[in-house]
C-alpha cells in the first residue's frame, strides 16, 4: 500500500439552489477540484460519487456516469462509481477511492459528494431523510430522525448529567463559524436563548438543534503522495481513513449515548495515524443534530463520556481554543446535502491545513480530523489529514 494525498478541492455554494440541477453542482465541484490541482482530466483513472438518495429526491439513479458524461469525460470511458452509505455516503466514497489509489490500481481519481434535496416538497423531503433508519421497526412506529436523536439526548441527560443548554451551544458555535464561510447555507449568528426558545421538534431538541436540508456538492482529487508535488505545492496526506459499523436501529445499540461505530473508527484511525486525540487541534464533526455533535466530541476521544457538555458550556471548544470544531459552520450552518457532507468536511480541513480558510482560519494547525455518520450511527467514518512539509 502506498501513501495517498489530496491534491485539490472544490465545493459549491450550499443552500436552496433552485436554479441549479444535480448534474450542474456535481460538475462544478469536480472541475474546481481538478482546477486547483493542475491535473488534466486525461490524468484521471476513475470518478467516485457519494450520494444518498438521488432516486428519491430527483427520480434519477445511475448518477455516476451521468456526472461523468456532463463533465465531458464520457470519451475516456473510465470507471465512475456511486457509493451509498446514508448520510455518510461522501466519506465512504472517499474511503473507497483512497483504497483504490493506495493499492496502486488507480493513480489519480476525483471523489465527489452531491445531493439535490430541495426539488421535493418539505414533507416528502423529511420522509426521504428518515430512510436511513430501520423502516420496519423504527419508522413504522412514529420515529423521525430528530425523535431518535432526542431519545439519545434524553438518555445522555439521565446517564451523564448533560443539560439541554450544553448541546444547544453547538448550534450557536456552528452559526458563529458559518457566518465566516461564504459557501454556508446559513450565515446568520444565533444566540443560546434563540436555540433554547425555538419551536420544539422532538423534546429536548428544537428547530435550531437540527441541521437543514440543503443542495450542494463537494469534491477532492486524490493521487499517490510521491507524485503529488508535480500537481500542488501543498499536498495533504491522508494519514488515516477508517469506516466502522453498528446495528441498524438505535434501540439495538449497546448504549444509546455512545456511537460505538464512531469510537471504533476513531480508535483505528488514531492508531493508523500514530496520533492521540489530544494532538488534533482541528475537527469537522457530524452534528446533524446538536446532541450528535456533543456525543461525537466524546466518542472521537476528545472528552470522556459526560464531559463534552461542560467543555462546551465553559467555552473550551471553538476557534481560538485547543480544539477548533466545525470551522466550516458544521452541518447546522454550512448545511447538510447528505451525500456531500463527508467530502465537504474534508474540503474544509484541507483549506485550513493549507491556510486558505479566510476569516475562519485556525492558526498553526498541521493535522485535522473529519467525522461523518450515516443514520443514527450504523456507519461512522473518520479521516485524519496531515499537511506534508
Amino acid at each position: 500500500m502506498r501513501e495517498v494525498a489530496i491534491l485539490g478541492v472544490g465545493q459549491t455554494q450550499f443552500g436552496e439552489l433552485w436554479d441549479r440541477s444535480f448534474r450542474e453542482i456535481g460538475i462544478e465541484a469536480g472541475f474546481q477540484a481538478l482546477e486547483s490541482s493542475k491535473l488534466s482530466s486525461r490524468d484521471l483513472s476513475a470518478l467516485y460519487i457519494g450520494n444518498m438518495a438521488s432516486g428519491a429526491f430527483i427520480d434519477q439513479e445511475h448518477v455516476a456516469p451521468l456526472v461523468l458524461d456532463y463533465s465531458g469525460l464520457s470519451g475516456h470511458h473510465f470507471p465512475s462509481v456511486r457509493v451509498e452509505a446514508g448520510e455518510a455516503s461522501g466519506a465512504v466514497a472517499l474511503a473507497q477511492a483512497y483504497l483504490a489509489v493506495a493499492s496502486g490500481e488507480y493513480d489519480f481519481v476525483v471523489v465527489g459528494g452531491a445531493e439535490k434535496m430541495t426539488d421535493v416538497p418539505e414533507d416528502r423531503g423529511s420522509a426521504i431523510s428518515s430512510s436511513t433508519m430501520d423502516q420496519e421497526w423504527e419508522r413504522v412506529f412514529g420515529a423521525s430522525m430528530p425523535a431518535l436523536w432526542a431519545l439519545a439526548a434524553r438518555r445522555h441527560m439521565i446517564d451523564h448529567g448533560t443539560k439541554r443548554e450544553h448541546f444547544a451551544r453547538l448550534s450557536v458555535l456552528d452559526h458563529e463559524n458559518g457566518s465566516k464561510n461564504p459557501l454556508a447555507h446559513y450565515r446568520n449568528k444565533i444566540t443560546l436563548e434563540q436555540v433554547l426558545g425555538a419551536n420544539a421538534v422532538a423534546e429536548p431538541l428544537g428547530m435550531l438543534d437540527c441541521a437543514p436540508s440543503s443542495d450542494g456538492a463537494a469534491a477532492v482529487v486524490l493521487g499517490p503522495l510521491d507524485r503529488a508535488r508535480k500537481f500542488t505545492d501543498t499536498p495533504i496526506r491522508i494519514a488515516a481513513s477508517q469506516i466502522a459499523t453498528d446495528t441498524m436501529a438505535l434501540m439495538h445499540r449497546r448504549d444509546i449515548t455512545t456511537l460505538d461505530s464512531t469510537v471504533l473508527a476513531a480508535k483505528r484511525a488514531f492508531q493508523r495515524a500514530k496520533l492521540q486525540p489530544s494532538q488534533i487541534p482541528l475537527a469537522e464533526i457530524h452534528d446533524s443534530y446538536s446532541i450528535a455533535g456533543l456525543m461525537a466530541l466524546e466518542d472521537l476521544g476528545f472528552y470522556q463520556k459526560g464531559e463534552a457538555g461542560k467543555a462546551l458550556a465553559n467555552g473550551e471548544v471553538g476557534i481560538g481554543t485547543r480544539l477548533a470544531i466545525n470551522t466550516s459552520g458544521g452541518l447546522k450552518a454550512q448545511g447538510q446535502p447528505f451525500g456531500a457532507v463527508g467530502i465537504a468536511q474534508v474540503v474544509e480541513i484541507v483549506r485550513q491545513l493549507r491556510g486558505e480558510a479566510g476569516a475562519r482560519q485556525v492558526s498553526g494547525a498541521t493535522v485535522g480530523l473529519a467525522h461523518n455518520v450515516g443514520g443514527t450511527g450504523a456507519t461512522s467514518v473518520v479521516h485524519i489529514l496531515e499537511r506534508v512539509n
Partner: protein
C-alpha cells in the same frame, strides 16, 4: 409502505413474536435469523427458537414529538419511547393513554394493540403495538 410489505410483519407487530438463541438464550425482537451475540454463528443459523414477549416493560428513554413523522401528523404531540421489555429486548414505540409530561424514565408500561397510522384516504390502516402505563392497563377478567 405497500400492503404486502406491512402484512409480512403483522405477526410480529400484532403479537410481539420474538426469537431466542438456542445457545446463549438471548431473546431478540424483531426475530433474527442468526444470533449476533454468539461468536460462533453456525450454532444459531436456522436454529433460532420462536418465542413471545409478555408485553411488560419499562421506559428507557422518551421524547415528546411535535414535528410528526410522515403519517403521524394527526397525533402530535405524541410520546415516542424506547421500552426495555422484561425479557430483555429494547423496542421503539409510542406511549399512549397518559399525559406526555407524566412519562418518565422507569415508567412501567404494557404493550397494547393499536392503530399506528393511516396511509392517506385510500391507503391501508397500519396496526401494531403501542405502550400504555401498566397501572392503567385493563385487568384480565
Amino acid at each position: 409502505m405497500s400492503v404486502a410489505r406491512f402484512w409480512r410483519e403483522t405477526l410480529r407487530r400484532y403479537n410481539l413474536g420474538a426469537s431466542k438463541c438456542p445457545d446463549c438464550e438471548t431473546v431478540f425482537f424483531p426475530p433474527r435469523p442468526v444470533c449476533p451475540r454468539c461468536a460462533v454463528h453456525r450454532k444459531s443459523i436456522a436454529k433460532m427458537e420462536p418465542c413471545q414477549l409478555s408485553g411488560h416493560g419499562k421506559v428507557y428513554s422518551y421524547t415528546i414529538v411535535h414535528e410528526a413523522a410522515d403519517g403521524f401528523e394527526m397525533q402530535v404531540p405524541y410520546v415516542l419511547a424506547m421500552v426495555q421489555m422484561s425479557e430483555g429486548p429494547m423496542l421503539t414505540g409510542q406511549i399512549v393513554d397518559v399525559e406526555p409530561s407524566q412519562v418518565k424514565e422507569g415508567l412501567e408500561v404494557k404493550a397494547s394493540f393499536r392503530k399506528l397510522r393511516e396511509e392517506g384516504e385510500g391507503g391501508v390502516i397500519h396496526y401494531g403495538y403501542k405502550f400504555a402505563p401498566a397501572s392503567q392497563a385493563p385487568k384480565a377478567p
